[in-house]
Symmetry: C2
Subunit: 473 residues, 2 copies
């Protein structure tokens, strides 16, 4: 498929739609920040021909109609904090940034619902609703910078999915511009809605390939009154993972989150932030278990019960943190993981595999085997309660550039095949985007891929919306 | 679109696929039960040309391939407990009953997941998992008879959506036969999965028009240890509904369910089951509030706090029920609602409207006005916490048949227009199906309808799967 260029005439039309100050073209320095997201690999960066910043649905509609008429790619973009190249203009064309559509339009306390534009920063939204005793439970780890629109487009996860699910659970309705430029709205301020197909949930996680959100209706929850974190050290991964289902079945408790780090991650992070690993009793793995609820005593008792369960099942030690400073200590190692790994080598691939929780221990030897076979580092940490692990394939500093380029795709392919064998898949929350596109056929059959492609073709007949992502048509 | 008939040759092929004992044809008496669901109106009934009962995905695939090749409609059917004509063979052809695919294939305690065939009775599944200290939270009111496959196809709701959401939240994966006969699987034993479009959630609630489920992967939750029901009486609807958001915002509590009945429903039901209405202090409305949790004392205290809040806000009285016999008393009136209304007249339309919770009081005068204007009865009860109300338009016994036939569509149209004005929609949990098809354009724009239709066309190019439902192509 060949696309048309953004000509001076088209630039002029775009300027008329959004105002000349909201179009960037011909200025490489100003456009560069829009050419990549947080993916480490440079090969997934691509420069747009024009950056356009609409302020309203009507403007988005006009831009998309123009692009659809002329056959020009349009890539919608939030904060650019993504980890799969989803917001990168892979085929050039127009980069449509929602940064000016950043209003919280309504916080409806009576219906526990909020209406937002896509460019609202997730964290700012959370602070705002927390003041009202409410919270938005579907948020990712990058919440300091990410936009709510990107969260919805990627169906962002985070560490609380066991109890609270992922972003999609909280999306009650969407106003959006379809690839043909029509403005439509699905769902609404309703916790139940079966009027026709569930277009809202089809759009959640569609990575900007089926529509551009202009208004998002989110469900809010009452903010729990009590919250406790606990760190539990284990000799090895198997021991750590074995207790996870027991918490939920034998104890009938659903923690907010269960985070996990393996030995290599722990060592790397301790070194990076200058902590003594002995503090962690030379643990081979640890869990951070978060609990929340409305009654502080109940939550504390649940926490102590879980601690006892862990110790009965071979845990080396357990620390409970109730205050913010204790919590910070517990989280410091885990929160520095991505950074610590980048310090080893910027040449790496942050993975996002997901397997059934009980299969995590069987995944660990696979990582070990791959790291030896291909002479790479593969530390692993992530959301154990969700089976979602950010194994990170890292180039050894002493390795050559050339060998790394050959090695990485082979490591990933073998990893993904193993993950599929364990009933898992290649992305739990980061998305397919540009980065994982070539691997999608490893986990989907031809008929499954074709079903998805047929939906893309039906809604975007000229393939102008975020082309080059997820799959080629 | 014209379809081909089920000829003797095709019947022969069907018999070869599923065995002759699993095909019914030419026997009106045996086919009659498959010609309708629980919709009261006879006009939505339709006889199949053949009833076919496959036992495996492979058989379903062969039946659908045959139908797709020959241009014969296939209507998938669960227990037939639906309320929108979804499982009725509107265009004749093959009625595909999943009644033989009724195995619970796996209860995976470690991953809190179950794998089922679509013909499992929801209630039997629930009893089974409860024995293991687990529960399936997405279930409808008809759980004694409905099948899990139908629940998923309709995205069934029920009374617990405020806390637990609807069926879709618990569907982690689906194996299904597409309209072309291909067997595909989306999702899996994973609480996070963003590999491609969210086909799983698109299929949930697609009313058997996009695929026939052959395997369903459901998420289970730990069974809460404590549960309390409370009945609160109010002078009128406004007072009752006003407290609903306060429970969730001021008290930061999320009840399991908040059921509601208006004065007319209460009177009708009391009369039907021979209870003295004075017992209810001549209340104009009542709420049944359900709470659950893991700590009995906490749940009881929450319940008492809610009771106090209600009494401070003008409630006439509040009764707490902790034991099963108390609970039965509280529920007796509510549970007999549908039955009591049928005793007035079998000519009625059980509606399923949904509005934002805070708009319920504004809906009540609309019902009152319509009932006077058209001389019909419209008692209203339902899931107040979800804004989902089963207003039931009932023919007055003294009214003529002819007038009723003219009146009903006008009442419904006016009701739906008002519901849309209140940011609501025409179905919260029963579906569009055959019954509400003609009203769908009242709540969806042409572009919104077209987006849905384009998906149907893309996946079912010959329009053979459950044609005549939701919309005409």
């Amino acid at each position: 498929m060949s696309y048309r260029e953004v000509t001076p005439e088209i630039l002029q039309e775009l300027r008329e739609i959004v105002g000349p100050e909201n179009v960037i073209a011909g200025d490489a320095e100003k456009m560069e920040p829009y050419s990549h997201d947080e993916v480490a690999e440079k090969e997934y960066a691509a420069m747009p021909e024009a950056v356009v910043k609409p302020a309203a649905a009507e403007e988005v509609s006009r831009i998309v109609k123009l692009a659809n008429r002329e056959g020009i790619p349009v890539t919608p973009r939030g904060a650019g904090s993504g980890l799969s190249g989803g917001a990168v203009p892979a085929m050039g064309g127009i980069l449509l940034s929602v940064e000016r559509m950043n209003r919280i339009l309504e916080i409806d306390r009576e219906n526990l619902v909020a209406v937002l534009e896509p460019g609202v920063i997730t964290n700012e939204f959370n602070s705002r609703v927390e003041k009202e005793g409410l919270f938005f439970a579907g948020y990712p780890m990058s919440l300091e910078m990410c936009y709510i629109g990107g969260n919805v487009a990627e169906n962002a996860g985070g560490g609380r999915a066991i109890k609270y699910g992922v972003t999609g659970r909280y999306v009650l309705g969407l106003e959006m511009v379809l690839p043909t430029g029509e403005i439509v709205a699905f769902g609404g301020k309703r916790v139940k809605d079966v009027t026709g197909y569930n277009m809202t949930q089809l759009m959640v996680g569609s990575e900007g390939t089926l529509g551009i959100f202009t208004k998002i209706i989110l469900k809010l929850l009452p903010l729990p009154k009590a919250k406790i974190d606990m760190m539990v050290l284990f000799e090895d991964v198997q021991a750590a993972i074995d207790v996870v289902p027991q918490i939920m079945t034998a104890m009938r408790l659903t923690p907010t989150g269960i985070e996990f780090m393996d030995r290599l991650s722990l060592e790397t992070c301790c070194e990076y932030i200058g902590q003594d690993k002995a503090k962690y009793k030379n643990a081979g793995a640890f869990l951070i278990i978060e609990l929340d609820g409305n009654d502080a005593d109940t939550v504390r008792n649940e926490c102590l019960d879980i601690g006892d369960l862990c110790l009965e099942n071979g845990a080396l030690d357990a620390f409970v943190a109730e205050g913010p400073s204790d919590q910070e200590k517990i989280w410091s190692v885990r929160k520095h993981a991505a950074e610590a790994f980048k310090a080893i080598s910027p040449q790496q691939s942050l993975e996002d595999i997901v397997v059934p929780v009980s299969s995590i221990p069987r995944l660990m030897p696979v990582l070990e085997e791959l790291s030896q076979k291909y002479n790479v580092l593969i530390p692993c940490y992530g959301h154990a309660g969700d089976g979602n692990l950010h194994a990170t394939v890292i180039k050894r500093p002493e390795d050559t550039e050339e060998r790394w380029k050959e090695t990485l795709p082979r490591v990933l392919e073998e990893l993904y095949v193993s993950v599929k064998e364990l009933s898992g898949t290649i992305s739990g929350e980061h998305g397919i985007g540009h980065k994982r596109k070539k691997y999608l056929p490893l986990v989907l059959s031809e008929a499954e891929m074709e079903a998805m492609k047929s939906i893309k073709r039906a809604l975007d007949p000229n393939n102008i919306l975020n082309p080059g992502k997820m799959f080629d048509l």
